[in-house]
């Protein structure tokens, strides 16, 4: 029981990180980024690259993945989104557009990387810390063994991913509530038309949000090989649906909501897995439908939607 609860919180924090980028993109632009899971997958491949080519701790892939995908996101925004916003029904068409994008990403990755499952040895993650400990504190290189919480051992990567997620969510919160661009972002989230009318450069704000959203997704992707065991180019689609469940469970446009949604999701997932394992696959979908029907604005949301 304790094990399931703690593991649920650890996974839940990670799931929040997975969902938060999607939340940002949908909240600001009303665009359904169906390629979200594929960005995660690409982040995982950056981690594989860092380990495979440079042979260093995959944690170094985190800033790299973030920078690459912020830039890619801003570029992609200017290519795709203004044209999409001009069409008759941008919300619906965005689903199809980003489905196309996810197909392209998946196909290109398959062409270059093949369809085999990739994984990274979990002891590689966090080797930076053990090295520092050895150098400064004169301890012995112990390797990243299980970490003890409440008398139960948990794999170190889970804990590292959960801590990184906490830091990332904190940074998103700081960005949204304590910077000028973040304030403008929230203005666009609540009323796009009025934001435009008050002279906010909606396109610039949206491009920034899109880039950050993709960047965070890629950071979450770096940890995917450790959390899910392995990744394949086809991993993206499932990740997208899971992310949606988490985002909707929290609420749109509220990073704290997504954090809560992720933790609730992680707890449910671990509990169902422990007690009713054959029905665990059903959980995200049923949870998603129930929440959508009962409380479309999410656990922490105000009513923002008309009809």
């Amino acid at each position: 029981m304790t094990y399931a609860l703690v593991a649920g919180v650890l996974f839940g924090l990670y799931f929040s990180l997975v969902g938060i980028g999607l939340n940002l993109v949908f909240g600001v632009m009303r665009i359904v980024n169906l390629a979200h899971g594929d960005i995660l997958m690409l982040g995982a491949f950056i981690a594989l690259g860092v380990v495979g080519i440079a042979g260093i701790d995959p944690l170094f892939a985190v800033p790299l993945a973030f920078m690459v995908f912020v830039l890619a996101g801003v570029l992609l925004y200017w290519v795709l989104v203004p044209r999409l916003q001009g069409s008759a029904n941008p919300e619906m068409l965005s689903i199809i557009l980003f489905f196309g994008l996810s197909q392209v990403i998946e196909a290109v990755t398959t062409i270059f990387a093949g369809t085999s499952e990739r994984s990274i040895q979990s002891r590689l993650l966090g080797t930076v810390f053990t090295t520092i400990k050895v150098k400064w504190l004169g301890g012995k290189a112990a390797g990243a063994g299980p970490i003890q919480i409440f008398g139960q051992g948990f794999p170190a990567p889970w804990v590292i991913a959960a801590i990184t997620s906490l830091i990332a969510i904190g940074l998103v919160y700081l960005y949204l509530y304590h910077t000028r661009l973040g304030t403008l972002t929230r203005a666009v989230m609540s009323r796009r038309d009025e934001a435009l009318a008050t002279g906010i450069d909606v396109d610039r704000v949206s491009a920034a949000a899109f880039g950050i959203g993709l960047g965070i997704a890629a950071v979450a992707g770096v940890f995917a090989p450790f959390m899910f065991g392995s990744v394949t180019p086809a991993f993206g689609a499932d990740a997208t649906v899971t992310s949606f469940a988490i985002v909707v469970l929290g609420s749109l446009g509220n990073p704290l909501g997504t954090a809560l949604g992720g933790v609730v999701y992680g707890l449910c997932y671990m509990l169902v897995q422990t007690y009713l394992s054959s029905w665990a696959d059903l959980l995200p979908y049923v949870l998603l439908i129930v929440i959508l029907l009962l409380r479309p604005s999410g656990l922490l949301g105000r009513r923002v939607r008309v009809a």
């Binding site: 619906m92 199809i96 196309g100 979908y285």
Partner: protein
Amino acid sequence: MHSASKHLLFILAPLVVVFALLPGAYQNHLLLFNFVIFLILAQGVNIIYGFTGYLPFGYVGFFGAGAYGFAIMVMHLQTPAPLAVLVGGAVAVALGLLLTPLLRLSGAYFAIANLAASLAVLHFVANPALEGITKGPYGVSLTGTFNPTHAYYAAVVVMALTVGAVIYLKNSPFGLALQAVREDAVSASMAGVNIIKMRVIAWLASALVAGLAGGIYAWYVSVFYPDNVFSGEFSIFAIVFALFGGVATVTGPIVGVLILYGIYNLIGFTTPQYFQLIYGLLIMGLVLFLPAGLVSLATRRGWHVP
């Protein structure tokens, strides 16, 4: 001549005649059968998305429900195949009824919820705990009813009914009212349209069509796994085919299936990942440059497209 009978005569009749005669001239019957199935599904998507604006991202849920309705009737009650196909359709309608609350959601929320619903049905059917009823993830084998020729003609009949339904929607006050609801639900209800009834009827009609197609598919292939009949590709292909041609028209989805599924069969089997790449680029180009489908090339010039 009345425009509905024109449509029946010049679109439906040639389509049915061509697909009824082709098996005699062309050897690859499975390919022809798949064309007919995708024509049904694309028109089914057309009914719900084209005329009401709800994007059924989990449309395959009905297809799979139909296939499993068929399989369960044949396995447990030894019903004859045509009756089991009808039951498949009824199962899909029942699932549609169960999911009617989803119609309260709008826009992307509906699409995502529908996708989740189809995945939930997949995991429900594939659950090892239900092995006694659905055979769980181990798949179904229905050799007793195997008869591809009959199944093919049944598919042509369902296709004729589906295209007929779209022609009806295109030419009737009912279809016009549906499109009014799609454009502006509030104004339509002010004008005396019963929004809820309209949407539910269109929703169940498209569920019925997909369920019948699923039942016939199960009849034709006779051996399948949950992952086959609930494959997301069915939803995606049907939606993209319909959109590529142009929704809310009779000809659009037909053109879309013939062109895109044709390309798929030319290059898709040998090098799937290159096809996926081309396909993805095609979809993106379509949304960015031709959001109203191929038929908009003609309508922009002021030609009328049925």
